[in-house]
């Protein structure tokens, strides 16, 4: 048990913080602690979790990406236009188009970083501006409302009315999110390529000496994030039932904060899918709770910022220092 807590200190710290916040919120508002609300949370967090697991892969490989959220907006817009020309399409063609476009936009980042040796944060700030600028220029900020029916109609995979009258629902975004989470987990923990990514992020020079293909690693990491951004973009359009060019603008920092909160290290080699999902959920739980408690939305950012600081401090000071019985364990070693 001690070993498990120690090796997953961040995840336990996050769970503890989520539990504490949930308990506090359940006293403040009676709506919070219902299954219905929990499933609501899952539905609304899906897109962010999809983005987050994608970004996690880039962080593990030692990079960072600021452009993925606006890339997702570009994908939404272009995919919506293409589907219109095609005369409708469906979920399969939609996901294929969105995924491919996302991978392409991610590959642009990888190309700039690998070919011209631009630091990833600089390269992606540049592409962030280019992608968003192009999108706003060509669309003139006009939203698309007449999306194909299949894209805008809610897909409920499971629903059930609870005794308290609330509904629990699992919608398509949740299913897609689960697939993305599991796929990312399998990819980075169970495949040789995933482990090479960790090694590359951890010690790039060491990885190079073993003959790991450095350029390949960049393309795989940014390609994976691109894929997730594309899928997330389409799902967001489905969830919002419209395509607004600047709807995702600014989302990159929320997601980045959540992923770092989840234990990923800026600098590479470290991070887990579970931590990343918990990081997103912690922020969503807080926002949802504050919402239900009737706190002004203008105060959200401030409170979320404070929670990020507290949670990061908790996970950095390591559980041992906070729990007395752990300290004894440490002393005996």
């Amino acid at each position: 048990m001690h070993k498990v807590v120690q090796s997953h200190a961040t995840e336990f710290a996050l769970l503890a913080v989520i539990a504490i916040i949930s308990i506090v919120l359940s006293f403040i508002t009676d709506r919070f602690f219902t299954l219905g609300n929990a499933f609501d949370l899952l539905n609304t967090s899906s897109v962010n979790i999809i983005f987050a697991v994608g970004l996690l892969v880039v962080l593990i490989a030692g990079g960072i990406d600021i452009s993925f959220a606006v890339a997702a907006s570009v994908v939404q817009y272009v995919a919506a236009l293409m589907l219109g020309w095609m005369g409708g399409g469906g979920w399969i063609s939609g996901l294929l188009i969105a995924g491919t476009l996302g991978v392409l936009l991610g590959a642009v980042n990888a190309f700039l970083i690998h070919k011209f040796r631009i630091i990833s944060i600089v390269a992606t700030i540049a592409t962030f501006n280019i992608y968003f600028g192009l999108l706003m220029f060509f669309t003139r900020g006009v939203s698309i409302y007449n999306l194909p029916d299949w894209l805008t109609s809610r897909v409920v995979l499971f629903e059930h009315e609870m005794a308290d009258g609330s509904w629990i629902e699992i919608t398509l975004p949740v299913l897609v999110m689960l697939i993305c989470v599991v796929a990312t987990w399998v990819f980075i923990t169970r495949t040789t390529t995933g482990r090479q990514l960790y090694a590359f992020g951890d010690n790039p020079e060491g990885a190079r000496r073993f003959g790991i293909n450095i350029g390949g690693m960049q393309f795989i990491a940014f390609g994976w994030l691109g894929l997730m951004a594309g899928i997330g973009g389409l799902i967001q359009a489905h969830y919002a039932q419209e395509v607004v060019p600047n709807a995702l603008y600014g989302r990159e920092l929320d997601v980045l904060a959540a992923v770092v909160l989840g234990g990923a290290r800026l600098g590479g080699g470290k991070g887990s899918v579970l931590g990343c999902v918990l990081g997103v959920l912690l922020i969503s739980v807080t926002q949802n709770g504050l919402n239900l408690a009737g706190v002004s939305p203008y105060a959200f950012k401030m409170i979320v910022g404070a929670i990020i600081l507290v949670a990061i401090t908790l996970s950095n000071t390591s559980i041992e220092k906070l729990l007395p019985f752990m300290r004894q364990e440490e002393g005996r070693k």
Binding site: S7, F187, T189, R190, T191, T192, T193, G194, R195, Q196, Y198, A199, D202, N203, E205, G206, A207, R209, F210, G211, I212, N213, G216, G269, K270
Partner: protein, 504 residues
């Protein structure tokens, strides 16, 4: 080519190199080198920095391609040149000085890292990796928790992990580049035991080290390079440290005890009953003007912790420190620097110098107050100060604005010393000043230390190499388990006496 020895007992060499030439941009890095390694032997490759050792290793491992006419024979196969892949596949493994390990990954993953390689994704066989890792460690007679991340282990264990990784790669020949540079004496002994185990199991080891004592202890044969040319290959039987130094540098160094009596000089530092529980207890000593006090002891003796406490970076629990008679309490190292204490850290490369910055900027960083003019930094004053120290300490540099990383280890160390001297200290603490510095440069550093002592500076010299303190300090304190257990006067006792006490 003097003293060249034919392979003993008629054994056919595992590795034979002939006619190895290598030129970098017009500079001949290697001139007509021949080099043999016998199966299962421990062979030492000796030479000063820049003598061509690393270039030779890189040729054997396929990183560089030698000029035409070279002949490489390994394990019965002849090659015109190696490639990294052929070298690895045929059983040549290198343990680089920086180890090339992955701290966030588990011990098992690090040891069995080769199973993770390959262009196309496969599922990871964690059980297989674990088994391989445990088996490789068992061959070395070591047990580590293979599921823990490598970062939980100290440098000595990481070294072992790197060796275990070479074993997984079915090594027949392992190159170890300065494997003991950052290890303490007891860790080094353990590593040397492991090297013996390795060699007994039939793996040949080529050992590169600056520490001549361990070269003599571990290896059966020795190849010496100087300025890119072969000096010769020798048996280590009957070889002495001073003879190796002579071969490496082409010069003779007489090691004499410099110790003199500074007993009449005024006391600069007086430490009385200083304790920091768990690290050091009840330490009392004095250092006088112009005196060099040596402190030696094994890992965990509390040497570095004591030094950091004197320098204000750790807080002692009890006891007093007097500087020129006045009690001092430092709440940070800024106070200590202001009071006239300078500390040259153990880990020069990561802590002492800022590698990408220029020589000049590194030199003045601790004494910026002296080069201002009207409250702003003055470039001309900086240039003068830097020029003065570079001449005083005889540092070989290109331009003041060159990055410090362009200098050799010995010259970097001089800059690090100059940085502190520029603060006009009363007391200079040198913590393991020669780690990673080769023999010729070491002599240069200790010449500087001796000259500084003559000018009246009080010096504390910390080292776990007993000869270093024996030959360069006036008095030697022996620390063990946080206490001063002995005091020696090098003028009145032999090196063997101190060594026996310390390594007992």
């Amino acid at each position: 080519m003097t003293g060249r020895e034919s392979a003993k007992s008629g054994q056919k060499p595992l590795l034979i190199l002939r006619n190895i030439n290598m030129t970098f941009g017009g500079v001949r890095a290697l001139k007509d080198i021949s080099f043999d390694v016998l199966p299962g032997e421990v062979h030492c490759l000796a030479g000063e920095n820049g003598s061509g050792k690393s270039t030779l290793i890189k040729i054997i491992t396929g990183v560089y391609r030698p000029q035409d006419g070279a002949a490489i024979e390994f394990d019965g196969q002849t090659y015109a040149h190696m490639s990294p892949v052929t070298a690895q596949n045929s059983g040549i493994q290198v343990i680089w000085q920086d180890l090339a390990l992955f701290p966030e990954m588990t011990v098992a993953e690090n040891i069995s890292f080769q199973t993770l390689l390959g262009r196309w994704p496969r599922f990871v066989n964690y059980n297989g990796m674990r088994e391989k890792a445990v088996k490789a460690l068992a061959r070395l007679g070591v047990t580590l928790d293979v599921d823990r991340p490598l970062k939980d282990y100290a440098i000595a264990q990481r070294q072992i992990v790197a060796i275990a990784r070479a074993l997984v790669g079915e090594a027949k020949l392992v190159f170890m580049d300065e494997p003991t540079a950052s290890l303490t004496q007891s860790e080094t002994d353990h590593l040397l035991d492991i090297v013996r185990t390795l060699s007994a199991s039939g793996v040949a080891v080529v050992f590169v080290s600056h520490r001549l004592a361990e070269v003599l202890e571990i290896s059966s044969r020795l190849t010496v390079l100087r300025d890119g040319a072969l000096v010769g290959a020798y048996s280590t039987e009957g070889m002495t440290q001073s003879r190796i130094t002579e071969l490496m540098t082409g010069k003779t160094f007489d090691q004499i005890v410099r110790a003199c009596n500074a007993g009449g000089n005024p006391v600069v530092l007086e430490v009385d009953g200083l304790s920091r529980p768990g690290q050091f207890e009840d330490i009392s000593f004095t250092v006088r003007r112009g005196e060099t006090l040596g402190i030696t002891g094994l890992l965990g003796a509390g040497r570095t912790e004591l030094a950091l406490s004197l320098f204000g970076m750790l807080k002692p629990r009890s006891g007093t420190v007097r500087l020129e008679g006045k009690p001092v309490h430092f709440s940070s190292n800024r106070d200590a620097i202001a009071a006239g204490i300078a500390y040259l850290s153990e880990d020069r490369l990561s802590l002492g110098l800022i590698q990408p910055q220029s020589i000049a900027d590194n030199l003045v960083i601790a004494s910026l107050g002296k080069i201002t003019s009207g409250g702003l930094l003055s470039d001309s004053r900086k240039r003068d100060l830097v020029a003065q120290w570079i001449t005083d300490l005889g540092v070989k540099i290109g331009l003041q604005g060159d990055a410090i990383s362009t200098l050799s280890g010995g010259n970097q160390q001089r800059i690090a010393i100059a940085k502190w001297l520029a603060t006009d200290p009363k007391l200079l603490i040198l913590d393991a000043p020669t780690v990673g510095v080769d023999v010729g440069a070491r002599a240069g550093i200790f010449d500087i230390v001796a000259k500084l002592a003559e000018t009246g500076l009080a010096i504390i010299l910390i080292s776990d190499e007993v000869p270093e303190v024996y030959f360069n300090a006036d008095r030697v304190l022996h620390m063990a388990k946080g206490r001063v257990v002995n005091q020696f006067m090098p003028a009145d006792c032999s090196l063997a006496e101190i060594e026996a006490a310390v390594y007992a």
